[in-house]
């Protein structure tokens, strides 16, 4: 003979099991629905892959104080400012790589933005004349840059020469660090002046 209280307990546990089963089933359905909703909001078009284009990098060499042109293929955005930033960051990635001829440890992605403005303060955005490139470096890049006359000069000249090689309308370059003007790159080279890209190439004894 089964005691009455055990019978009651059995039915209570059976009911709880059924309720839990129903709740679990509903949670499963809800989760499945959420996944389906997520799929609905996913892009239905494949992302556009920018075709790789050749870009000329004027890479510096500390051993002989020269710049050497190096053509690399990389996907480039259409906007000129973003294009300049992508090219310069590839140049700085060369310097950050081990065994670089111009080592700047941790210098990859050292260019935060490049702004292109009419040279000489023309103020017309639709002009087709010479341009001033304002290169905004990250403070991490400046902080990690080795100190020295030659190394800092080569960094500045290689940026100017690379901009000239890829964006011929850029005739002048100014530098900022985290959006602020800074006296020197790493204690030597003047970052307050405007650099002429035409003067960057012969001054450093560029190798073709």
């Amino acid at each position: 003979m089964i005691p009455r209280y055990q019978t009651i307990l059995f039915f209570i546990l059976l009911a709880a099991s059924l309720v839990m089963g129903v709740v679990l089933w509903q949670l499963l359905e809800r989760h499945h629905q959420r996944l389906l909703n997520g799929e609905d909001s996913a892009p239905t078009q494949a992302p556009l892959v920018t075709p790789a284009e050749p870009a000329t990098l004027e890479a510096a060499n500390d051993a002989d104080n020269t710049l050497t042109a190096e053509v690399q293929s990389l996907p480039l955005p259409q906007s000129p400012g973003d294009r300049a930033r992508a090219i310069l960051n590839r140049l700085l990635a060369l310097y950050a790589a081990p065994g670089s001829t111009h080592p700047v440890p941790g210098g990859a992605n050292g260019v935060a933005q490049v702004f292109l403005l009419p040279a000489g303060g023309q103020g017309d955005h639709r002009h087709s004349g010479p341009e001033l490139a304002v290169v905004n470096l990250t403070s991490a890049f400046a902080a990690n840059h080795p100190s020295g006359l030659e190394t800092e000069t080569l960094t500045v000249l290689s940026i100017c020469a690379t901009l000239r090689a890829n964006l011929p309308r850029v005739t002048e370059v100014r530098f900022l660090v985290d959006g602020q003007q800074r006296a020197t790159l790493a204690g030597h080279v003047d970052l307050t002046r405007t650099y002429l890209t035409a003067a960057a190439l012969p001054a450093a004894g560029v190798h073709p």
Binding site: D62, G148, L149, E150, G187, A204
Partner: protein
């Protein structure tokens, strides 16, 4: 009364001056009447030849780091060596600093410009590259103006700075030290109104592009200082010929 007292008080000085003037006249007359005049002395270099030796950085600004030494210590050591060598050759030297003090680039240019020096050397040190790096201002040469702009005052001296760089290059190469030449924009140097060259001492090149000697090596510094001193003596004699 007072007037006569002052004249009487000055009488011994007046007499001494008169004797000196007479003596100098007699010596001059004797020299002119000498039967065998001494052969003419070699052309004396410019009466006033001043060299500015600027040990870069200092005080709050350590510059870079070479081994376990800050750049400011190495430039000061090189400056002291060079000052001694130049003084021994009878060249008047103005050093920017003799101790670990902070000097702003503009203050350095002010000191150099007041000295009206015939050569200004800004000394630096680095672990990048090899040998000695000689940098002159990247400003475009310009003609001299009565009131040059402060930040581009060196433009009127760029041609002379390049000539000085050539003399330094020759002397360093003769001493067996490799040299690279370049142009740069350096705060302070761009404001100097003298032939100015920034001299950066980097590791000496060894076998297979390795650093044989670091810039903090005293023997290496001594060889560099000797070559720079020899170059400045040559520069002085070139100035006398011009």
């Amino acid at each position: 009364m007072h007037w006569s007292k002052r004249v009487l008080g000055r009488r011994p000085r007046v007499v001494a001056l008169a004797i000196l003037a007479a003596a100098s006249l007699m010596v001059g007359a004797a020299a002119q009447s000498a039967p065998n005049p001494a052969p003419p002395a070699p052309a004396a270099p410019s009466a006033r030849f001043v060299v500015i030796v600027d040990a870069a950085h200092g005080g709050d600004d350590p510059g870079g780091h070479i081994g376990n030494q800050p750049e400011k210590a190495i430039t000061l050591a090189l400056s002291v060596r060079l000052r001694s060598l130049l003084a021994a050759r009878g060249i008047q030297v103005v050093t920017m600093r003799e101790s670990d003090v902070t000097l702003a680039p503009d203050r350095r240019a002010e000191i150099a410009n007041h000295a009206k020096a015939q050569a200004c050397l800004s000394l630096h040190a680095s672990t990048s590259g090899f040998g000695i790096h000689l940098f002159t201002s990247s400003l475009a040469p310009a003609s001299s103006t009565p009131m040059p702009a402060w930040k581009t005052a060196q433009a009127a001296w760029v041609t002379r700075s390049l000539a000085l760089s050539g003399v330094l290059n020759s002397a360093l190469q003769q001493a067996g030290i490799s040299v690279t030449l370049g142009r740069t924009s350096l705060l302070g140097v761009d404001s100097m109104t003298c032939p100015a060259v920034a001299v950066e001492i980097a590791p000496e090149r060894g076998e297979g592009d390795t650093a044989a000697t670091m810039p903090d090596d005293p023997d290496y510094q001594a060889r560099v200082a000797q070559a720079l001193a020899a170059a400045l003596v040559e520069w002085r004699s070139e100035g006398a010929r011009l």
